[in-house]
């Protein structure tokens, strides 16, 4: 089956005083309908910039390379007008902080129906009915009353549900969610994760879930790509990548997390700090923090190599090969 979105060799350069700076350096992935694709990484890994590039929302002066084919068209090569139609209609975005992405002075009704009227040309009454249906869809208690409310009257979890409702308004085929639960309590986060899972299944929606939280990805994503300093470290089915991580960076991230089944295990941190695009190390960008690095790691950028069923990994040292059950 052909995937809904196919990204190949994506590059993003930002314009700086010292010339173009490479933020995303050759990222490829596929997202299928009804699938949750997880993009993991720490700050500076390029995961958010990847999403912005797909939406055509990069800051002025940014350049892209590669292709992102969705339904036969390249998202990166679209004209502005075409892109505007695509955003909202076919691709929707949900951001981390619903407080700053909802307009504080407009009612929920206005923010929901504006979209419906502009993009779909619905009448006022039609838009109202559709908006109530959307709020019901995201399990908003008392949707009619919620329509008359302003963002500040809702809790973080409810605001995130409203944001998802707005995203779903024009029945997009792809939803990009950037740290959608990071600002929420775990109890509320669990509800949003369940909502995303349900929408994905019922509407055959494709979801790109961007987060640093491996627990969230593990719960929701069908497949994961782990990014470090703008490049892919490891990608594959979630059960493989999270259950039997092969790249030293993925392994390091998992070992640094508290483990539910082994509370007495000492947390093993990764030494140092995440690499930033301004000072991306030579060769494998992870080598200064990697306990398995060899002199050759400082020179050559390791290529992504297929290792097993649908998994790719960019580490020629491959220190965890033996530990993987065959």
């Amino acid at each position: 089956m052909t995937p809904l979105l196919s990204v190949r060799d994506l590059h993003v350069w930002l314009d700086t005083a010292r010339g173009p700076l490479s933020i995303v350096d050759g990222v490829s992935f596929d997202v299928g309908e009804g699938q949750v694709f997880g993009l993991a990484g720490e700050s500076g890994s390029g995961k958010t910039i990847t999403a912005l590039a797909l939406l055509g929302l990069l800051p002025a002066g940014a350049r892209t390379g590669g292709v992102a084919i969705m339904a036969g068209r390249d998202l990166l090569a679209m004209r502005t007008s075409e892109r505007r139609r695509t955003r909202g209609r076919e691709i929707a975005m949900v951001f981390q902080d619903p407080t700053s992405s909802l307009h504080p002075m407009l009612t929920i009704e206005r923010q929901l129906t504006e979209h419906l009227r502009y993009q779909l040309g619905l009448s006022g009454k039609e838009a109202h009915l559709r908006a109530v249906a959307l709020l019901t869809e995201v399990r908003m208690p008392d949707p009619e009353a919620a329509m008359r409310g302003y963002p500040h009257q809702f809790s973080g979890g409810m605001r995130q549900r409203i944001q998802i409702a707005i995203g779903l308004a024009c029945e997009p085929r792809l939803l990009i969610a950037d740290e959608p639960t990071t600002a929420l309590d775990v109890t509320v986060q669990a509800g949003i994760l369940r909502l995303l899972r349900r929408l994905c299944k019922e509407k055959n929606l494709a979801v790109i879930l961007i987060t640093h939280d491996l627990g969230v990805l593990s719960a929701l994503a069908d497949s994961i790509t782990v990014m470090y300093a703008g490049r892919v470290a490891e990608s594959g089915p979630t059960s493989q990548v999270m259950g039997h991580a092969r790249h030293p960076y993925t392994r390091g991230l998992i070992d640094a997390l508290p483990h539910p089944e082994a509370p007495d295990r000492v947390l093993i941190p990764i030494a140092g700090d995440p690499a930033s695009p301004e000072s991306r190390p030579s060769g494998c960008a992870f080598h200064p923090r990697c306990r398995y690095s060899r002199p050759s790691c400082q020179i050559a950028i390791p290529p992504l190599i297929p290792i097993d069923d649908g998994r790719e990994m960019a580490c020629p040292v491959d220190p965890f090969m033996a530990s993987v059950a065959r």
């Binding site: 509320v188 669990a190 593990s218």
Partner: protein, 329 residues
Amino acid sequence: MSLLELRDVKVVYQRRDGTLVPAVAGASLDVDAGEIVGLVGETGCGKSSLAKAAVGLVPVAAGTVTFDGRPVHVLGRRARRASERRLQLVFQNPYESINPRRTVGAQVADAFAISHTLPRESWRARVDELLRRVGLPLNLARRFPHQLSGGQRQRIAIARALAADPAMIVLDEPLSALDSSVQAQVANLLVDLARDLHVGMLLISHDLAIVRHVAHRTAVMYLGVIVETAPTAGLWRKPMHPYTQALIDAVPHADGAGHLPVALSGEIPDPARPPSGCRFHPRCPHVMERCLSDVPELVKHGGDRQVACWLHEEPVAARPADDLRRVSR
């Protein structure tokens, strides 16, 4: 007697319309020297207010806060009393809690200037010692905060607290602004400091998983009151309060098994109008009739656990905890 004692503390704020909001509605908590106590709960449960009351950043409306046997005074315009300098606070965001215009070494040395306990010629050596203690290279002392990473900045904030030779440090979400690979570094540092320097710590966090790794004892707070406290391992193995159980079930596991965490229905109510009886009853899966009217007290169960829940009226409570787990899974 514990080093830090909070007894029936109430913290009340006033809204602009005059409504009084009891953010902390009678909470008691002890922290001993060398002990790390985790305080967990959802946003708006009053955990940060309780932390601020513990160090005198907000006045208490009722109850007492004592440190080393003496009452903690509310910070005003005057300098902090010498007896309270050994009670220190570390904030969540190291991007805001340190001065961007001064070198980090100078900021760590502030404590010496205030306390007059160290001759000026020894300041540098002591700053170096503190940087080493928190795992930072010594050449960092002459840098400015913007030249440091988030993890390094949080270490500087901890070094500043240590400069006052504290007996107790209250940390308000010290890990949540950090990248996950860096969180573990700072979490391990806290454990080392508590053990090596015998410092007591009150660790406020919304991240249960990290509290489980770091804290010796955990207190669970809901809508201004403590609902359960127990040694951390026991609390996780057998949570007795339904709210504790709900918090634990909501934590996603990074194991690739694809388990969706369990959501807790409803939302934390407005603290200005708390529900009658048990404050958790509108969201509780085990709610009974008396929960609607009678307020459960925090009662001892076994040696070192306290629970405020009518499910555990009988102090011998191994069995109900088992039932609870089965029902909610």
